[in-house]
Symmetry: C3
Subunit: 208 residues, 3 copies
């Protein structure tokens, strides 16, 4: 039996999959909060989203602890840190967005917000699908190519909404401020997914 | 006489304590600017706060130079960089907040700002107390636990003020913009202290 | 023939010079967009600026790939990453600023914006001049000293505009929001050049 110098420690891959699963939950709660009819509903969903973010945070800490205490890691230590941190940023921005909907009592959402959240849901799905492929390092290019395509769509939706917000006659400034802060967070979440894709691409290139 | 492979270089610990001392000065100037009655007073205090930030910046540069020129460091090189940088961020945000009070001629501060600054003063105190314990790596958990507790309070005060700012009937939009930017900086300062706590926790875990 | 352990790989220096050249192009397009008379002109220039940013992004990726695939690098691997990334941030902020001028249909620019863009043009010039000196590591201090001086000017111009924007009687809130976001991006671009200067200083200090 040969001795492998780079054992595929299942623990790491499972932790990455677990982090990605939280992104699915987060996107689901964001979708739910868009459909909320009352302030009580919004606050209840924002609370659930905050719990998802807390769980994601614990998964990230577990990954970091594992990296710091493992003698051998499946790929570069700094890259594991970077990927864990990037996944964590995705849920942080999604949670912040949901939190603003409740905090600012936003009941009439700009139309494009639904589009932004649909894109985030799709980004979470392809990320969850990709995490197990970190084991083989195979077929990962389809992941970062799809994320890049989705991020371009998110960016278009975001910019279209910015133009509508600011170029509309007689818009209420405080409402514009609240809506801008919300769509900024959703755009930041999409950018965070692109950072995840960049980290995965960088790892795949190094390991090839 | 034994030869130690990891000599406890006093220079590093003194530089960390010196950085933390600037945080106490910064929080004191922020407290002073909240009590200022005239624009001249605000500008004078903002100038003093800027001088504190410059001194803190020099202390950070000295730490970075020391890391880059030392063959042996008391703990991981990247961690010293990270901790120095995080301490620097705290004072940067405190200085930016004080600067806004003067620049925007803010005379009627939102009530919760006093609470935010009290929390920052307390955060600076526990940080100064903790720095010498980097030597022994003992009793540091009480530090990051307290910072985490204080950051949760800061976050509550911040979010309460956001809701008041935006959900108030007939608020002047430009005043809301100025106040929001100020409380954002104070919240960023509290978050920066939490980053300091995370860095210290990470170092303590590695060194244990 | 002697064998050098740290060969001066021309490829790296050329890539840094190429990145810096994009900063000159970016600053030129920003200058152009300030002089645009129609929305069509603004959009055409914003498109050109976006193309410059794409080229700069590809140059950054090429640098990162080169670092990841080279056995020996002319200076510390992390520093090459850091410098490439900092140069990339400069063009990202310049592109974002130009994009806002078109997106928000900004036709009456605050007076100080011309000053900010002049400073960015000068910063790009001194950066392009400095890149070849990374080879010898000689005469680099004049670079970071000049960038620091220019950044202080940019900061003054920025702060003067903030005071004018917010302390003006009867200003339209939505216009203030658009202008603030624009000058924030231009200030972020100036800060990004200062980060480039810090990275170069850090590299020069280590290599001396």
């Amino acid at each position: 039996m040969g001795f492998s110098l780079t054992p595929k420690d299942n623990g790491f891959y499972e932790l990455f999959s677990s982090s990605a699963a939280h992104l699915i939950e987060g996107a689901a709660e964001l979708t739910a909060i868009l459909g909320a009819d009352t302030q009580d509903e919004r606050e209840a969903i924002a609370k659930r989203l905050s719990d998802v973010e807390t769980s994601a945070d614990e998964a990230t800490h577990e990954l970091i602890r594992k990296v710091n205490s493992s003698f051998i890691t499946p790929f570069d230590r700094e890259d594991i840190h970077g990927l864990a941190s990037a996944l964590d940023d995705c849920i942080d921005h999604m949670e912040a967005a949901g939190d603003l909907v409740a905090l600012y009592r936003i009941d009439k959402l700009p139309k494009g917000v639904t589009k932004q959240v649909e894109i985030l849901s799709r980004m979470a799905e392809v990320t969850v699908d990709a995490m197990p492929r970190l084991r083989s390092m195979k077929d990962l290019s389809s992941f970062w190519i799809e994320i890049n395509r989705l991020e371009n769509s998110a960016d278009k939706a975001y910019r279209r909404m910015l133009a509508e917000l600011f170029n509309e006659e007689g818009a209420d400034p405080l409402t514009v401020m609240k809506h801008k802060e919300l769509i900024d967070e959703l755009e930041a979440a999409a950018d965070a997914f692109e950072t995840v894709a960049h980290k995965v691409e960088s790892i795949a290139v190094k390991e090839s």
